[in-house]
Amino acid sequence: MKNTLLIEKHKKLGAKLAPFGGWLMPIQYSGIIEEHNWVRTNAGLFDICHMGEFEIEADLNKSNLDYLITVNLKTMLQGTCRYGFMLNESGGIIDDLVVYRINDNKWMLVVNAATTDTNEEYLRKHLNSETRLKNISGSLGKLDLQGPLSKNVINDLIGININLDYYAFGYYALFGEKIIISRTGYTGELGYELYMPNNRINDLWDKILSDKIVKPIGLGARDTLRLEMGYSLYGQDIDNTTSVLEAGLGFFIDWNKDFIGKEALLKQKECGLKRRMICFASNSRRSPRHNYRINYKGGDIGIVTSGSFSPSLGVGIGMGYITEEIAVGEEIKLIENLVTIEAKIVRMPFYKKGSVKYKEIKNACAG
């Protein structure tokens, strides 16, 4: 089990700690519901040091990096990032990730904690000799600041108005270090992800938390926040046996380029999907859980992959795969042993008032 660099901070704050992706991480501080609501209304700080980062040098004319990732790297502008996948030959998801284009030939991949090592192996095996890969997970810390008021906090931290569009990033100076800040996140709120060298990550944590509108948020609330948006969690909703199309993530695929797994996905498109991801909300506070059966008109048609109480909606919500095509609005039952929960298929996101789409006001002269 690995310890995050901030473990002593979490202990001091009275966090409940538990293993996640091979790391001992803070699950909650004051309580999941309170933390969840704080991120929806103010700004919350997450220790995300467990996630993996790779720095890659790749000239796209020579390197095959673009072929290993579903994102169209060639059309990406410097200073932007995109969400995408590494797929296996059958279209299964090796990992979901965010790619950063640092300059023409330099990239950063941000991947899940539990898959960092297998990703590195996979990349080293498949990348050609024109590509240089460096696993920088061990020297780079990551904090997420999320919530409708997070922009004020970031501006105060850096001392300028940073004006980042959604999925854009920049380098900023702080504590004599270069820090990457991207306008990204996984909560459905306006927010930022900050990458800081390990040696100053504790200072960054303290500095941000000294702002009274920021509270520390654990992985428990991170999970309810992402689930309210219908975002998939790797290892739970998606993995190397679920295809991108089955997971309902085809939207993030650029079909104009070639990538590993494309052939299999095109075949799935042609022949139809064996199962598909749906979102559902229960009619009560009773919440579905991982592995509950999804039942429609008396027959089992699938399995719940994620389920939780939704603090924002006050009902149980979840997602899961079903083998039949059933329309939004249809009633289903979620069943395990003695428990039967009445629910309805709904459209994602569950929570529709998130500040994630916040638009920067541009200077009119800039055209």
């Binding site: 409940k16 909650q28 309580g31 999941i32 519901i33 309170e34 428990g220 999970d223 309810t224 009560s284 506070r285 009773r286 919440s287 859980r289 939780s308 109480f309 603090p311 149980g316 428990v339």
Partner: protein, 129 residues
């Protein structure tokens, strides 16, 4: 961790307050603290017969659903209706407004299988180490 003197406890962190031939039952402060925010409680029905250590309720927190076992055998005579809309009462006040049910005790001798406050406190403190 709060452990009132006048109650009896199970290893699974339920409590019973015995008054004559009835007992009020619920879950302990340790239990609510471990579960975190409680979001739903499936209580037994009035008239239902409960067995000592048998399933009597299900408590859902944000993260998980957990079974609750009856500290004593008996018939349910009253349930805490407030918990339907306010399950958080169990977090706020596990021994008072967060009670689950009142049962009519079948066999008071079963009390011998329960821990008193001093024993339970030791037991729970050992678990948190």
């Amino acid at each position: 961790m709060l452990v009132p003197d006048n109650l009896f406890f199970t290893k699974d962190h339920e409590w019973a307050k015995i008054e004559g031939d009835t007992a009020t039952i619920g879950i302990t402060d340790f239990a609510q603290g471990s579960l975190g925010n409680i979001t739903f409680i499936d209580l037994p029905k009035i008239g239902q017969g409960l067995k000592q250590s048998g399933l009597c309720a299900t408590v859902e927190s944000v993260k998980a659903a957990s079974d609750v076992y009856s500290p004593l055998s008996g018939e349910v005579v009253k349930v805490n209706e407030e918990l339907a809309d306010h399950p958080e009462l169990v977090n706020k006040s596990p021994y008072e407004s967060g009670w689950f049910a009142v049962i009519k005790i079948n066999n008071l001798k079963e009390k011998d299988a329960l821990m008193d406050a001093k024993k339970y406190k030791e037991y729970a403190e050992n678990l948190s180490k």
